[in-house]
Symmetry: D4
Subunit: 244 residues, 8 copies
């Protein structure tokens, strides 16, 4: 239910065309859908510009498939993250067009084509081992209509590799920098570009990494401006820079 | 051994009907039962209003079944939490009426019917992935005679979903709010109702959740009044609000 | 603005007695008051049964006094917690009746007498050093109309001291148990009473207390049922049990 | 030294107008200035769009004043954060126009007027106690040419206060949401707007806040999209959204 | 090599019966045995009163068996802790008399009978789930010649169960108290006996147990005197009280 | 009230010489003394062999003095730990014989002479900076009748210093080893003696000490047998080994 | 591309023999090789004296094999750490000479013989369970041309075992000391030798080891000079001392 | 007592020129000096190549002065770290030549001139605020005979500043890199030089620095080879690289 229909509804209430009880009922059902095990936020796109993303972890395959099935009745592209192969098999039963990306652990359904913009997002990894996390970010950005350029394995132990790709990085509208270990790469990138940098820590790393804590803290205390942090794999935020 | 029998015993001691040694012996055996691997607190119901709940984790299936077997000699409903399927199979051998709930990981035996009260407890989850924890809470509340209303997947990313269910929430005698991620939902509920809120953090969540620590800390520092915290899955406390 | 006036307002909208713009304006101003540095939630009592408590920490004395001054225009008792003496001096300028409790670090203004209930809340401390935290809880409970019984210094190193006061504890409607060190006292109380126990950890303690973390964790993992936890000094929750 | 002068320099090297040694020397001195105790990054504006911000903490007043003195020889506005009054007094000796904001702990020198844009940044606080952190963010944004709208004390315990200001929040180009305690406000805002949200945790809070850790973790695990996190007081990032 | 043989050796050096080189050689070989993958401390019994205990974790089955095989050439009882069944099978090949206790995860070889003392050690558990840890402690104490009395499942949720066994506890020379959850039982015991209490935390527990951290911290901050802490499963210390 | 008087009381109850009400009253008052702000455990010595130690931290000087004043009516030596000079001044008003040890932060009152035993406790420090903690331990041990030998500054960076004092250490009945930094000294001592070792971590240390956490964890994971841990300054436990 | 070729290139630019575009291209391709999933730092040896080590963890077997295949085109010895058996099988397809060390979890390819130096590195373990970590260090040191002497199982519980090997330890050019539990061995070694000590913590240990945290912190706060710390298994640093 | 005198002593024992008792006595007194509150390790220089450094923190001014006074009887340069001005004043009374460096918090006494070597140590700071820590490292290195080159404020937000000083850095025998915030600078340096890098974290930093933890963890997980970590201010290790 968008802004206009809300205006209409209130006008109808004033004109007596709609009773207060009816109005309350409509407002209740326009904004969410109760599936029993999930209450889908059908109003989110109006509010935030993007439909809900399905967070697979902790759900049963049946629940994921059920949510996809409901979303198919609407016009948006569908994305599920943190999914397993078992979830994908259930989803296929209700949606044969669903695409599974095992590295990114995503299921995507394209229901409409979004005109790719001229600008792009750079998804940069410090090492090869950071690729799965980066790929989830890239898939998310692409399903919501962004163009993505990937820059791989340019971490600080051989920082000239980043300099070799500096053109690609500097022309990006936004950089998503994925790094484990000490998480230093976003600071470097943040000191070299005049665009926002989204730092994504991963749990990759020798030694005292403590499940990604080192990278997370390193990024949080980054001394470069224009950098903010999104915890590892929380790339739902990644589709946001599109609006900038 | 209840208050009256204790009075009788002391009177008997004064009258010389019971020797001091005998009295000590009776007091010892009335209050607990030694099974070798467990010392069942047979006195707990008198003291706290509810019989002991069997905590399955870390026990062998034989131990769980043995404790159930002993409890069957008494009149109360029986509940075991954190159980495995292997425990359930052993329990079935001594109690064919036992009911296993795999999502809640509970075994329940109904030995008496408790008249359901007019009021109810609202068990509210922030997301679908929080359901298993919520279900353990709901099963626990029900086995001890409460009525439960479930409100599912109304987390803060689409907070209007909670408003759609506000009637159910506000009429509840107590709300149990189960949430992972940042654990913000109990604060919202606590700011909307005039009844106690029991916040239950879960380990669901993208990114820097650290096994539920984020949700736990978020709930502990909640700025809403009337809210207290019970660690994830520790819903034994849930049957308590009944008395309020 | 309460439930009835909301009904009236909607009726007026339907009848055309009130324009939509007027209605929106009224709804905006009935529920909060903007002081520039604070937005007072004037609607909270209707929603949760209690007016807002002023959280002093981090505010300037001028801000605390300004909020008190506004609240004096209303009928409720006023409570500020975590206050300093400097705050009290500023408050005195606008409210000579304000009462300062330096141990509890509270400022209270009694604007109405609440009929004390027959039941009471037991505020129990493990040690003498836990008294300041306990006193904040007791003052909070009393300002909102509760009767409080204090049980002091009955920690687990000499647990018979608790047994000596067991009558007082068991007849309480709710027990607030304040303890530092290992935080074990709430577990003991929770195992002895059939009423809710609110555990409040403090930072008192020898050795590896880590600023109260030991007591907090100890209470969170308590094996007694009917116990929930409110972080040290967060006694705003304490006035809640009144409703039970 | 900008892109063009670099091109010129390399051409001069090829033409033999500049020796390699000279070229190396020029590149060295164009990009930074060595003050002995500091190496000022005079090249940062070319690279990232903004001049260096002086981070006061841990520096002596003499060092802060010396850095300001050097920066006065250039055309940009100057900002120092985390300063003390003693630093301000030393800075006044070299720059009588410097403005000290004790709440924000900043020193600012306006050397040029930046045309304020039509859009604005919303700086939102959960409570009055979060104002100092918010003010540092607002001052930073303003010194770099942004317009700022402040929304104060609209935390989740009375979330209708946020709804009352929803127009201001939704029309902002970017929202900076400052909150302590459980850090839930950014999630709520992120679920209501279609613009980026920058979450800034503070150490305000009762109980188990652990120096802001609760708010930080709560924000990091936020389940709302479009939200990213900048640690408390690290508002240097705040001037970045301007570019979006 | 004991005290007397050392005296003899030095006398021999003075008399010239033994060269300095020979003496150095003897001292080197009398005190340890190099197996390539292990350097067995053959001197430990002289120094500390007890032979080395084999710590199985992280060793290969071949290494454990090899160490047992060497130890069989000496006269002491042999104990290996933290062993797996695979280790036991390898040990059986070199020592058919070895006894495996799967609950305690120990392998024991009795080579001599130690006259059991009149006094005993009480090994007390808070719950049934703490039994494996307690059993490792009991097995260790017994293999080194102690008598052990077990007191099972007497945790603080029903503290009268401990009182029922108070005679057994108070007559013990030392109490080893094994508890998970909030770790409160050792404090209670320490407040009731006039003998040392060794607190052993376990990772048993609902909710915010954090792998036993709650119990560990609870015990470390115990307010009862006479209590000290040995981390879970570190019961090698348990044989020590024998000497008291 | 000791064992005999308890027997007498029960006999009197049986004989009718004492009513049940009287018996309950006597039992209540014999075991503790309520001072309003403190409930002194007058029964502790009977139970644990030692009277209560006053824990000064968090108490007011008046409270400390009041507790001392009450204790003066009894025959035991009195000890208060974690005291300030202000507390001492108040105590002097009620007890001119009180002795203040500023390094150990203790107040001691000797009311009876305990015959010093032939054996002694070794209090060993790793460094000079560990002396205050060690001194609290030594004072505590002495006030309860032990003889103490001090071994100072023999930490692992020059471990031969410990060997030089090995005679003193090995002849001690118990060793209390106080160390900061990495907390390695207790492990070394534990590997050299056949008596119990009580490890006491302190917060002394360069670098990543984290308030003593390094030393605490180091000691908790000590690979030497016969070693247990008491958190820094928790030396109340120290008087316990006397009984061994 | 080494120092000389860089000089040549710049001279060619000045002479006009090489255009600026060509020069930029050469610099780009001489220093790294893009494999799509990895950007190999072909310039690292020139910069740091050693070629890149392949960090296996988080890579697919195909990626590891692909990187090895590229490296075979160059002259250096190849080392991959943190590898699995599946990785080894893929590597064998492209390099039949590869040698797999399952204990050290390494794959090594010797392409050139390095003349072993006269000096050696001592790799010392506190216990047998520390061998896998130590072996990774030793293999790394050897593949880069060092001689290694192993000293096994000489931990602090029987410190004379270290003294027995003191000659080997003191003559080493550098000591790598691998220890779990409390991590005390490097402090001891650091106090006995006049050469650098590299402390490597492992996660071996009873009780409160917290995944190696105890050993790590213990080593970081070591009070011995000349000691620095490399997190467990991060032995890539180990080849560095060769240069000392 | 050096190697030769030990040989002589043993020969004297064999010849009967020295009794065993005498020999034991000599060994005891040659290696340490007992001052009552300190046991000075007079043997350390023989063992590790450097005399003991006085760690001021936690000592009284009298103790520091007493230790200096004793050390003056020997020939080495004297260094005390972590000192206060009060300590310096006491030291001046026994040693008027002592030099106090308030930024580095050191007291130094030069008793001999050490021929400065041709090589040098580079002490590099990421920011101006890291200077005090760096200065302690530099003073320590210099008092033990090293030449130091300082490189200031070249952190990763403007990494070209480091490149401008790359010659100085690359020619250093060892680099000590001092950084707070995310601690990324040592990784960068480690990727650019072929000499050891000693990373020293500081607690400087905006936001989620947690007292230097971010920098410490960042350095510990550094992905650059040849880098090891010494906790902040633990620069006693810094004199060690001299030997490399």
């Amino acid at each position: 239910m968008n802004q206009e229909s809300l205006n209409q509804l209130l006008t109808d209430v004033r004109n007596g065309n709609v009773t207060i009880e009816e109005a309350l009922g409509q407002l209740k059902h326009f904004t969410s859908k109760d599936l029993g095990y999930a209450t889908i936020d059908t109003h989110r796109e109006l509010r935030t510009g993007y439909p809900e993303v399905i967070f697979g972890q902790g759900k049963t395959p049946e629940q994921v498939a059920g949510i996809v099935q409901f979303m198919l009745t609407r016009d948006n592209n569908i994305l599920a993250t943190r999914v397993t192969e078992a979830m994908y098999e259930k989803v296929l039963e209700v949606c044969p067009d669903a695409v599974y990306n095992p590295m990114a652990r995503t299921i995507a359904v394209r229901k409409m084509d979004i005109q790719p913009p001229q600008t792009y997002i750079a998804v940069i990894t410090a090492g090869t081992s950071d690729l799965p996390v980066a790929e989830e970010a890239a898939v998310t950005a692409e399903i919501f209509g962004n163009r993505v350029e990937r820059v791989v394995d340019v971490g600080v132990a051989g920082i000239h590799r980043l300099y070799n790709k500096l053109d690609v990085v500097r022309q990006a509208r936004v950089s998503v920098v994925v790094a484990g270990m000490e998480g230093a790469l976003p600071s470097i990138v943040g000191g070299l570009v005049d665009k926002p940098v989204i730092a994504v820590p991963t749990s990759v790393g020798y030694g005292a990494n403590f499940g990604g804590l080192s990278a997370l803290l390193g990024m949080l205390t980054s001394c470069a401006s224009g950098t903010c942090v999104v915890p590892a794999q929380c790339q739902r935020t990644v589709h946001e820079p599109v609006r900038c």
